[in-house]
């Protein structure tokens, strides 16, 4: 039965990878052989297919959690499952839902190829650069932290100037951080359930293994910092905490938690790590909810708080709200996918879809608790 599930899951991931290529940008000359324009000319069918795919993702997620709860899946099988997931989705088209990976490459190119400061010079200033045809934020200076930009030197240089190789070396880079984070989740929790909740979460999988967002790198570094603090390595823990902030800045909100842990360590007092993860999750949820101040809420920002909330699965309200957010935020893409515009009803629909399911789940558990 388990083998059949894994087989079906693999087949589904394979189909999802093929589906992702329906979104190839018409200006992406490097993949012109894969361009069909299907997603842009058959919006209804694409939207239905995408929504169905998300539902299937969550059905499998539910099955995996069930197997975990019933202790019918072991660590080795989870590792096999994760390897299959990463191996298949590695080949998916990364700009299916977001163009951020192109921004990462463009920013990296500004520094490592043109040798200009990406915080001063925008990619658009390099007239004639082929990346400009399909990079969506070329008219902005670097949006990310300096440590992220430095790290991107590795996948950029490994691309040897070939765009496709660079694109997939960025994906590989993110896949590595996904596995490192999964490893840390295991080390920190020592339980199978948090591992399944995080590693097989459809939002984590799609936003990390398909879209290649750098949020996983920030989360890895902050978890590593907590891991080192748990081992009483304050100096290294501090370094990695700072590096985490220098990826995407959001973990700056965890400074009070970090200082609390360090203070407890210095005072040789015990640390309730469940409380630490719970507080971290709430603070990162605040960062997530505050993100419209800067731009808007993007689905991948949920990785910030769900990574922590899955470490404390006994906090049921937080757990179910996180899962509801994972589901609703993946559907946040639907209004644009269907209408093809960011104007009109799209922004309103996006907010409704993103917040109604988690709000209902939250209310249900609050009422249930009171009764």
């Amino acid at each position: 039965m388990k083998k059949l599930i894994i087989l079906l899951y693999s087949a589904f991931l394979f189909l999802f990878t093929i589906f992702s290529y329906l979104f190839v940008d018409p200006n992406l000359s490097y993949l012109k052989d894969f361009y069909s324009g299907f997603a842009f000319s058959n919006r209804l069918l694409t939207t239905i297919s995408y929504t169905t795919a998300i539902l299937i993702f969550f059905i499998f997620y539910g099955i995996f959690i069930y197997l975990g709860v019933k202790k019918k899946i072991n660590l080795k099988e989870i590792f096999v499952l994760l390897s299959i997931t990463a191996a298949i989705l590695f080949f998916s088209y990364p700009a299916m839902l977001s163009y951020d990976i192109f921004n990462y490459i463009a920013t990296s190119k500004v520094l490592f190829f043109y040798q200009e400061n990406p915080y001063v010079v925008m990619p658009i200033e390099f007239v004639g650069d082929p990346l400009l045809a399909f990079t969506h934020a070329a008219n902005k200076i670097a949006l990310y932290g300096p440590f992220w930009i430095l790290l991107t030197g590795m996948p950029y240089l490994l691309g040897f100037g070939n765009f496709i190789v660079t694109l997939f070396s960025f994906k590989l880079f993110i896949v590595i951080f996904y596995f490192l984070t999964v490893f840390l989740v295991w080390k920190l929790s020592k339980k199978i359930i948090p591992l399944i909740l995080f590693a097989l979460n459809p939002l984590v999988i799609i936003e990390t293994l398909v879209s290649g967002h750098n949020d996983i790198v920030m989360i890895f570094l902050v978890l590593l910092s907590f891991f080192l603090l748990a081992k009483k390595k304050i100096f290294l823990g501090t370094i990695f905490f700072i590096l985490s902030i220098l990826i995407k800045y959001s973990t700056i909100l965890l400074i009070p938690v970090f200082l609390y842990v360090v203070w407890r360590l210095i005072k040789n007092k015990g640390i309730d790590w469940e409380k630490v993860y719970f507080s971290s999750s709430l603070l990162m949820l605040v960062a997530f909810l505050l993100s419209p101040i800067r731009e808007e809420i993007y689905p991948w920002y949920a990785i910030w708080f769900i990574s922590f909330s899955f470490l404390v699965p006994n906090k049921k309200i937080l757990l179910y709200t996180s899962i509801a957010f994972s589901f609703s935020l993946l559907l946040r893409y639907v209004p644009y996918m269907f209408t093809g515009t960011y104007m009109g009803q799209t922004p309103f629909m996006k907010e409704i879809i993103s917040f109604i399911p988690p709000a209902l789940v939250f209310l249900y558990y609050v009422i249930k608790k009171k009764i």
Partner: protein, 172 residues
């Protein structure tokens, strides 16, 4: 009728409207002026930020920003009849100027397309010339600076402004 039209055209050609060079380029607001404590810190920041603006285009931006800044500073100081300080600011604006051309040449050598930067520079220079020409009208040709306990100096403001205009007119 034909003669009248011909006459009107000739009138237009003989008496064209006098217009200064005009550019859509926007110069910055005047920043802190010399004399204040914050100005010294600002100079330090300016010097340090030179390294932040690394790269050919970065240096182009930095030097253009500096030449703009000191031109505005000179204009403001001249308006407040602070001729010595204004004179120094104008010279400082000119000082940064060759660096702009040098960074562009370097960018070209590094195979970077500098066409957009050249357009920006041309627009900036038109605005500079426009500002300098107004400045030339509003400021005295020379000014005798009499410092306390030192010999007086004559500031040749007109020549300095004209030199600044010429530098900017010679942008390729």
């Amino acid at each position: 009728m034909a003669f009248r039209i011909f006459f009107i055209i000739i009138l237009f050609l003989l008496f064209p409207q006098v217009s200064l060079a005009q550019s859509n380029y926007v110069l910055p607001y005047p920043s802190g002026m010399p004399g204040s404590l914050s100005y010294k810190f600002h100079l330090l920041y300016e010097n340090a930020s030179r390294y932040w603006y690394f790269g050919d285009f970065g240096q182009f931006d930095y030097n253009l920003k500096m030449t703009d800044k000191y031109l505005v500073e000179a204009k403001t100081l001249f308006e407040y009849k602070q001729y010595l300080l204004g004179y120094k600011a104008l010279k400082k604006s000119d000082f940064y100027f060759p660096n702009i051309l040098f960074s562009l040449a370097k960018a070209k050598n590094n195979n970077k397309d500098i066409s957009q930067k050249k357009i920006i520079l041309k627009q900036a220079m038109l605005k500079h010339i426009e500002t300098l020409e107004r400045m030339e009208v509003d400021t005295p040709d020379t000014f005798n600076w009499q410092p306390e306990k030192a010999l007086p100096t004559t500031l040749d403001i007109k020549t300095t402004i004209e030199r600044a205009i010429n530098i900017r007119k010679n942008v390729p």
